[in-house]
Symmetry: C2
Subunit: 340 residues, 2 copies
DNA sequence: GAACCTTACGCAAACGTTTGCGTGTGGAAA
DNA sequence: TTTCCACACGCAAACGTTTGCGTAAGGTTC
């Protein structure tokens, strides 16, 4: 087992100094052509690769972006990561991904761990628990130590930093408008509890659309779901015998669950009831009927977030002090679960 | 902006030496109680955290596991990652995830980058291109430099290392047997081209099951798909007017695509034709009808892979020289797309 | 008062790099 | 022969840690 070769070993072997080797590999004019060639040949032979750790220590930067997301097994978040990776790789950055599993503690641990030397900056979507707890000290501390943070999707208004979001309310309004425009009048909404920022915003968008159409908001048409993973019974109960002609679901899972439940209840989608979802994931695309939905353009979010972060990392201090919020356009994807 | 505080700064501020600070923080008996308390108070106040990079350099290990997968936006792989993270976090390891995007070059780049100081060992599922190209020098080089590698799912027989797989052939056989046992006789298979190792194995399992039932293998019931992302037309053409009573699809996407196509062709699932898939992802669970499938237990794979790797990383050299292949059991999940 | 022991700390090397600057050697110019 | 200048290289510091060992100061013992 040939251990990894270092400058020191090359130097010893060739009977020159470490600095000579280092300079030779960098084609420094200080070193004679002869020595340069010898060193490079040797380095190639032994497959020398500079040690990243040592470089990070010396340069005081790691060329690494830390991404922390609430869930790793989640289509939307992975598309965002895809976007981040794209930009990062282009610009010579590495990407470290950690999941907080929606736990505040794990978010703090991961952030602190990565912040203590492993990453230069962060792209972060906060855990559910963090939103509930409203404790953001870890994020602020990271920033105060000079490491830029870009928040995306589940952001925090109180924290001043770069952000990438979609206009959730507007997206929801678009969705609701679409239902209204095809003639639906009695539109139920399946949403989350209010402390989930995006859920609340989407609910607001729904209400705004109704008001614009002069349709009174009805308490009994709104279902706020706490336990996302066990929503089927709740949705089934809610939808049962309800006098509605459309359902707006604030995420994909709610949408397909509604579709399944309605199917069992003997209602036809889209003929009896239209369904529109939010997030364009695998499910929406492949379900039968395929689901009309609002696309969040996750990859774009990742791309923009990475660009913002890298700008800040590489920018001179002038740029550093201003913070931007990028709003990604949502778009309506019409499929078969709604029809005119 | 208070930059990150180091031992040196604390030492200067308290007018002691760096080593005193370091020892004090570690509660060394060498240091007087008084000094220890003073140092610790100061360190806490300034939120001192040891710099990981420096520690990695000194200890010559990073306490980080590198995971390289072919695709990040992929349910199965993310479940594996979930398993890896679980074990890693328990044992105090960090996880770096990189995607090769099914590109050989990117796989090499990522591996080399992580290998040069960023990770102590790797968990890897190789890119499609790598399987095609049969070039494994990067993996072997990494191992020869003393960094253990665990291959999972898409493994390489020629490379000697720890591996975690499922018995793909057996899983496929189980699937096919299930179809046979409920009375199907004319079973088509939707599979991948042969160079994808798992696709080939699953095809073999299908053939084995047929033979065991004395059913002759028919060329026209086998479709080998190359372009996974655009399979719909191909599947539609293949299935059209075919005299079959069941379809075995080697992955989830093929399964739902078949279901959709059959739906359009006026065939009812499961009444006219049964469908069974492979991989228990979101789609199988939520599709209507929900799909009977073979679960690969991705999280378990991740858990086992991480354990193998960490054993090797922490083991004495006795363990180091033997390699193990763990075979994860698959299981049949019966849902509505097949019925007796 | 001398010899010795604790106690409490500092020194320095090491991990693998990079890089400004100092320096020995050789040859050319005077 | 002396002076000077390139050339080609090495030294050493720095990044932030850890840790074995050396040592000064002070106290105890006879």
């Amino acid at each position: 087992m040939k251990r990894k070769v270092t400058l020191k070993q090359i130097a010893k072997e060739l009977d020159v100094s470490i600095s000579t080797v280092s300079k030779a590999l960098k084609d420094s004019a200080e070193i004679s052509l002869d020595t340069r060639q010898k060193v490079k040949a040797f380095a190639k032979l032994y497959n020398y690769k500079p040690n990243n750790i040592a470089l990070s220590l010396k340069n005081r930067k790691t060329k690494t972006i830390g991404v922390i997301i609430p869930e790793i097994v989640h289509h939307f978040f992975t598309t965002v990561i895809g976007g981040v990776e794209k930009v990062a790789n282009e610009k010579g950055y590495n990407v470290i991904i950690c999941s907080s599993n929606n736990s505040f503690d794990k978010e703090v641990i991961n952030l602190e761990m990565l912040a203590s030397g492993s990453a230069d900056g962060f792209i972060l979507s906060v855990a559910k628990e963090t939103q509930l707890k409203k404790d953001y000290h870890h994020i602020e501390e990271t920033m105060s130590q000079g490491m830029p943070v870009v928040l995306f999707d589940r952001i925090i208004d109180e924290v001043v930093c770069d952000k990438v979001i979609i206009d959730d309310a507007k997206g929801a309004q678009t969705a609701t408008n679409h239902l209204l425009s095809i003639g639906c009048k009695k539109i139920a909404i399946l949403t989350t509890v209010d402390y989930i920022s995006v859920g609340k915003l989407r609910t607001n968008g729904y209400l705004r659309a109704l008001r614009a159409y002069d349709i009174p908001e009805k308490e009994e048409l709104i279902l706020k779901i706490e336990d996302i993973d066990n929503c089927e019974a709740e949705i089934s109960e809610f939808l049962k015998d309800k006098d509605i002609d459309a359902v707006f679901a604030v995420n994909e899972l709610f949408a397909v669950t509604a579709a399944k439940v309605l199917d069992r209840q003997g209602k036809k989608v889209p003929d009896d009831i239209a369904i529109i979802g939010f997030t364009d994931g695998i499910l929406s695309k492949h379900f039968i009927p395929s689901l009309t939905t609002i696309s969040q353009h996750g990859e774009d979010m990742g791309i923009r977030a990475a660009k913002l972060l890298i700008d800040k990392l590489e920018g001179d201090d002038a740029v550093t002090e201003e913070y931007r919020t990028v709003i990604i356009d949502t778009s309506l994807i019409e499929r078969k679960s709604t029809k005119k």
